[in-house]
């Protein structure tokens, strides 16, 4: 009876639209309440965006429908393949339907003991249908996956282009990143699990009604009603229920996620203040309430599946009644009955598709918002090129860009005039009307307590953050007049949260200087103290550093990022905590060799929380609360009461073991 509803193993391991859908909406939908946009536009914010309690995402079908249109527009170059996959899906289901109908006809005809040759065609047909159903399904799945993966390739490239087109973007949290990746995959699910099976189900339903009409129009009418309920009414109901469940579950799930964070990240605070038991009780209460709600919602959700089963049987029964009443021959009554059972089950696939679609809504909307937002600016991306790269071969851009330094003559004086940066309206300014001169060739250290604005200063100079007011010029030109690819060749270096790519050491370094030869690599690595480690590795420069550089220790990672900055060697070199994560002795050595390796005439802006090794610099600028509070050479500052002197004495005490407290 359910021969058409064959199991579909899913080697990609992604969960299908099981009837548990109502109880378990997509994890991206629950808990992580976040506005629909990607939070990429604004300047880097210090804190993650406020978690809202409104978890329903964009309400109504409107935005989701629009999102699907954006996705379908992307699918247009592959329309032929998609239609092919849809037709094959229909052919698969049809073969299953025809198989059951023909087999029934064959069997019931055989009971009339006709001569064998009258059955030969049907016998051959049954065999052909049985085998072709499997083959159709195989080709359908291959064609569908191929088309969809091609589209995903496009979507990935476009999403990346859209992100790259923005001038500045905050570093994202790991959560936001993996959500972005899984959002892109919702496109895959929309096509493979919603559109293709739905198209197949609709086509087969139409064919089934047509075929039934040839035998008995009244029976076809009954079948059509059954199919309409199964393919339209039930999916609408399932969508409603899924949506309502998600809306009811999301706040509780979100609150429970917050509880889990409090009980784990806040475990020490809770224990120290004897509040663990209370917090645990509150969380346990919430899990119980969530469980009660889930049980209640599941009862409603599975009612839809029950109605579907009932519908298939009742429609078949009604078809038998009607067919017998209108004098259809007995053999064909059997064919109609078995065919009806199969056809309604095919149409019931639309219920699963509807659930799946509801769950994909949030992710799709986010992808569409991201793509729609920058569609105009992204260069047209056609079908992907055919060649197939070997893994790790070129995760980095090739060397087609102008190599290394672009010292286009002229000076590289840097000036800040009255620059103010605020990360949020109403917040204290990170830079407060700051003015600063950095003449070409000068080596300056910027120090100060945490939150004084050191990293913001680096972000402003490298164009990652645009000042709210004031003016930044480099070489007399306003910073905003520099093209996006031009500025990094003038101002750049090692910035906070430098990223190490999952690629070879060489590729990571070449990002800094695409044309660099072995000697230049070695020189930069030596200055950063990385060369010995590279030489020790069996694969040398081709050692692959793990995902996010995780096969490197924190210190080596830092050295790698520093070597990359040195290789880039822009005329204005910004180094944000270049020796972070190194022990004091190594930090001193690396700082000295780094400064020695910077070509004469290049400016250096060194941001540091350690004060050792700054004696050789031309000037030290002390920031506090976004303002310059002290400046001068090391010797002068140590002799003057103030933050620098205090900090210097304490660091000396901590690192060298003696204490010289001020009176």
């Amino acid at each position: 009876m359910s021969a058409a509803r064959d199991p579909v193993p899913d080697p990609t391991g992604r969960a299908g639209a099981h009837p548990g859908g109502p109880a378990g909406p997509d994890p991206t939908l629950a808990g992580v309440a976040e506005p629909a946009d990607f939070d990429v536009a604004g300047p880097a914010t210090v804190d993650p965006p406020v978690r809202t309690t409104d978890v329903n995402g964009p309400a109504g079908a409107g935005p989701a429908g629009a999102a699907e249109r954006v996705v379908l527009r992307l699918a247009r170059p592959y329309l032929g393949r998609l239609v092919g996959a849809g037709l094959l899906a229909a052919a698969t289901e049809f073969a299953g339907l025809a198989l059951m109908a023909t087999a029934t006809w064959l069997l019931m005809s055989a009971a009339g003991r006709p001569p064998l040759d009258r059955l030969t065609v049907a016998i051959v047909a049954v065999r052909a249908l049985a085998i072709s159903r499997g083959v159709f399904r195989y080709t359908e799945r291959l064609a569908g996956h191929d088309a969809v993966l091609r589209i995903i390739t496009d979507v990935r490239a476009r999403v990346f282009a859209a992100l790259a087109a923005r001038r500045s973007a905050p570093a994202r949290s790991g959560d936001a990143l993996s959500r972005l990746v899984s959002d892109v995959e919702t496109v895959q699910d929309l096509l493979l699990r919603v559109l293709v099976p739905a198209a197949g189900a609709v086509l087969v339903s139409v064919v089934a009604v047509g075929g039934a009409a040839l035998i008995s129009p009244p029976a076809a009418g009954v079948l059509a009603v059954g199919l309409l309920v199964a393919g339209v009414a039930l999916p609408v109901l399932a969508t409603r229920l899924t949506r309502r469940s998600a809306a009811e579950l999301a706040p509780l799930r979100g609150a429970l996620a917050a509880d889990a964070i409090d009980l784990t990240h806040g475990a020490a605070d809770l224990a120290a203040f004897g509040a663990t038991a209370t917090a645990l009780r509150a969380a346990t209460d919430r899990t119980r309430r969530l469980a009660r709600l889930e049980r209640r919602l599941a009862a409603a959700g599975f009612a839809v599946d029950a109605i579907g089963t009932l519908l298939a049987g009742l429609t078949a029964g009604a078809v038998v009644l009607v067919a017998l009443a209108s004098g259809v021959p007995g053999v064909l009554v059997g064919v109609l009955a078995v065919g009806t059972l199969t056809a309604v089950e095919v149409a019931l696939a639309l219920v699963g598709a509807a659930r799946q679609r509801t769950q994909l809504r949030t992710g799709l909307t986010r992808v569409a918002a991201l793509l729609g937002d920058t569609r105009a600016r992204v260069p047209g991306a056609g079908p992907a090129p055919r060649e197939e790269p070997t893994p790790g071969a070129e995760p980095m851009a090739g060397a087609e860009l102008t190599p290394g330094v672009a010292s286009e003559g002229g000076t590289h004086d840097v000036r800040l005039d009255d620059v103010t940066v605020r990360y949020r309206a109403g917040a204290a300014p990170a830079l407060d009307r700051m003015s600063l001169d950095l003449p070409a060739g000068r080596r300056v250290a910027v120090v100060g307590p945490s939150g004084a604005g050191k990293s913001t200063l680096a972000a402003v100079l490298t164009g990652a953050v645009q000042p709210g007011s004031g003016r930044v010029t480099v070489g007399g030109r306003d910073l905003s007049t520099y093209a996006e690819d031009e500025l990094p060749r003038v101002v750049g270096g090692l910035l906070a949260e430098a990223y190490v790519f999952h690629a070879t050491v060489r590729e990571n370094l070449l990002l800094g200087g695409p044309g660099a030869g072995e000697e230049e690599l070695a020189a930069a690595a030596a200055a950063a103290g990385l060369l010995d480690w590279v030489r020790e590795q069996p694969a040398g420069w081709d050692t692959v550093v793990g995902e996010e550089g995780s096969q490197l220790s924190g210190g080596q990672r830092q050295r790698l990022a520093l070597a990359r900055a040195l290789l880039a060697a822009p005329p204005v070199l910004v180094l944000d905590e270049p020796t972070e994560g190194l022990d004091p002795a190594a930090a001193d050595a690396v700082l000295a060799s780094t400064l020695a390796a910077t070509p004469a005439g290049h400016s250096v802006l060194l941001i540091s929380h350690r004060l050792t090794g700054l004696a050789g610099l031309d000037e030290i600028v002390v920031l506090d609360a976004g303002r310059v509070v002290q400046r001068g050479r090391h010797g002068d500052l140590v002799a003057t009461p103030g933050w620098y002197r205090d900090q210097w004495l304490l660091q000396e005490a901590a690192e060298r073991g003696y204490l010289a407290l001020a009176p």
Binding site: T264, H265, G266, R295, A337, P395, L401, L495
Partner: protein, 561 residues
């Protein structure tokens, strides 16, 4: 990894789910019986329809079995979802409870994030396992048996063929599964590298931008994504092929049954009704086996989460009984604190080596030293978060290892480097552990911690609800909340861990003032970061490389021993 389809630990750990699981098994039996009943009545109905007659009892029976099947479908889903909800609630409570029993030392860092995710969304993956896979697993046992029994009654020769071919499905499934798995594993490195590339590039986008390479990477992303497609398709071809083989095995088996039945029908050797029954039932025997196999992949995530949860709980010490707890002594915080040859060794590093130290009541001691030297471990020992791997810590003569830690912690006020603020009202955050604090005591603590100006600036004052992890407050404000907690505690011993780290000078001055007020008249151990804190202390300790040395403050500078 545990690849068994059902984890028997579940029955032991979540006894509340036992009844529903039994019910689920029973429903599986009923569902199988109904599959048979539906085919039987339909066969009867069609056999009489062949003679253009309507068999009313058969039609009624068919309608009734269909209705009963619908009910069983609903009941299976509902019961499965109930099991899922019960298990998730129980595991969440156990998991979060286990975190408390393991103690804060264990849960620090990355593990906290993993556990929070596991207790939150991680366990939601069980929905797919319980509602999608488990009922199907039950059916894959009950339905083939029921079908076999029914056909055996009607036509034993067909039953023999089914019984012989049925094992082919799991056998072929396993063989092909191994093949596909081997092929997948060969591709795995390549697939994961190509698949991870997009994430890698997006995560590194700020760095690409800093080197002016962001736009240039678009083509590379496209090429790599395309490489991912090609590699994925290669794997899928094998995986789909194995599904095709399984389907053909099932189809051929059905044909093996159907062909003799047809021939006997032509020869009049079998009744039409029996033949129809065999035709309708035979495919049902093969279907659930393949369905369960195909859903196993999707349920793996849930099984993995289940396994993780069990492992976290298994490692946790058993909850202490009330009787036991009462027997433990509570040290007096006004007594002497002694570290006796304390060593703390972690898996890779030794945080403290052979530290001997006496803190006299009322003494204020500063601890300085490079980061990672073991300063925080010193405080962790006193808080009971860290247990010495050698030596012991005593307070008022009581070894902390034997002490009632809750009672001891009640005499401690702790200001951590970065206090965790909870997604609750500001008042509740300050009253942590003392929810019944009267309003005036709260107001005093707020004033003492210089938090009053912060409160005045908030929309709902003390009733303002903070975001997750205290979102909405600056570092300086958060630190003042932590100080207010400490003031409210009014404990004889105060532990401060760099209370002014990460603060700008203006906030630092405010927090320092409050810290001085807090420390006055109490025994205090403060990990210092700024010299300003050192001015009012009695002794200064320097921790380096796990060893503790005493420094003598010299008023005008000079070397210590």
């Amino acid at each position: 990894m545990n690849r068994r389809p059902f984890d028997p630990r579940l029955l032991r750990r979540v006894p509340a789910a036992r009844r529903d699981l039994a019910l689920l098994a029973m429903l599986g039996v009923v569902a199988a019986a109904l599959v048979v009943a539906q085919a039987t009545t339909l066969a009867a109905l069609l056999a009489t329809a062949f003679d253009a007659r309507l068999d009313r009892p058969a039609l009624a029976g068919f309608a009734a079995t269909v209705a009963a099947r619908a009910f069983v479908v609903w009941a299976q889903g509902t019961v499965a979802a109930r099991v899922a909800a019960t298990v998730k609630a129980a595991l969440r409570a156990d998991l979060l409870g286990a975190v408390g029993r393991h103690g804060p030392g264990w849960v620090a860092g990355q593990r906290a994030g993993q556990l929070a995710t596991l207790a939150g969304r991680g366990l939601d993956a069980l929905d797919a396992y319980f509602t999608g896979y488990l009922p199907q697993l039950v059916l894959s046992v009950t339905v083939p048996l029921a079908v076999l029994a029914r056909i055996g009654l009607a036509d034993w020769s067909s039953a023999v063929i089914i019984a012989l071919t049925l094992p082919l499905i799991p056998v072929f499934g396993a063989l092909l599964g191994w093949q596909a798995q081997a092929a997948t594993e060969r591709q795995w490195r390549r697939l994961s590298m190509l698949g991870g590339h997009f994430l890698d590039m997006v995560a590194g986008l700020p760095t690409l931008r800093a080197f002016g390479r962001a736009r240039a990477q678009v083509d590379v992303v496209r090429r790599m994504a395309d490489g991912h497609r090609v590699a994925t398709m290669r794997t899928l071809r094998i995986a789909f092929l194995s599904a095709l083989v399984l389907e053909l095995v099932a189809t051929l088996s059905v044909a093996l049954v159907a062909v003799p039945v047809g021939i006997r029908l032509l020869g009049g050797g079998i009744a039409l009704q029996t033949a129809l029954l065999v035709l309708l039932l035979t495919p049902e025997a093969y279907l659930p086996l393949r369905a369960a196999g195909s859903r196993f992949h999707a349920s793996m995530e849930g099984l993995t989460a289940l396994n993780d949860a069990f492992e976290v709980e298994a490692g946790a010490p058993a909850p202490a009984r009330d009787g036991e707890r009462g027997a433990r002594p509570v040290p007096d915080g006004r007594g002497e604190i002694r570290f006796e040859s304390v060593t703390v060794a972690y898996e890779r590093t030794t945080a403290l080596r052979d530290v001997t130290l006496t803190v006299r009541p009322g003494e204020r001691i500063a601890v300085i030293g490079p980061s990672g030297a073991g300063k925080s471990t010193l405080l962790g020992l006193l808080l009971g978060f860290v247990t010495p791997t050698g030596g012991r810590v005593t307070v008022d003569g009581v070894d902390l290892a034997d002490a009632d830690l809750d009672g001891w912690r009640r005499q401690l006020a702790w200001v951590p480097q970065r206090a965790h603020l909870f997604a609750a009202s500001l008042a509740d955050n300050i009253r942590l552990g003392a929810p019944d604090t009267p309003a005036d005591a709260l107001a005093t603590a707020v004033r003492d911690a210089a938090l009053d100006e912060v409160v005045a600036g908030l929309p709902d004052g003390l009733d303002t609800v903070l975001g997750e992890r205290g979102h909405g407050l600056s570092s300086g404000q958060r630190q003042r909340v932590a100080l207010a907690r400490a003031f409210l505690r009014d404990a004889p011993v105060v532990l401060l861990d760099e209370p002014t780290a990460r603060l700008d000078s203006a906030s630092e001055a405010v927090v320092l003032d409050a810290t001085r007020r807090l420390v006055a008249g109490r025994t205090a151990l403060l990990v210092a970061h700024r010299p300003a804190l050192l001015a009012d202390v009695d002794r200064i300790l320097r921790v380096e490389d796990g060893r503790v040395m005493e420094l003598t403050p010299a008023p005008t500078g000079g070397a210590a021993r």
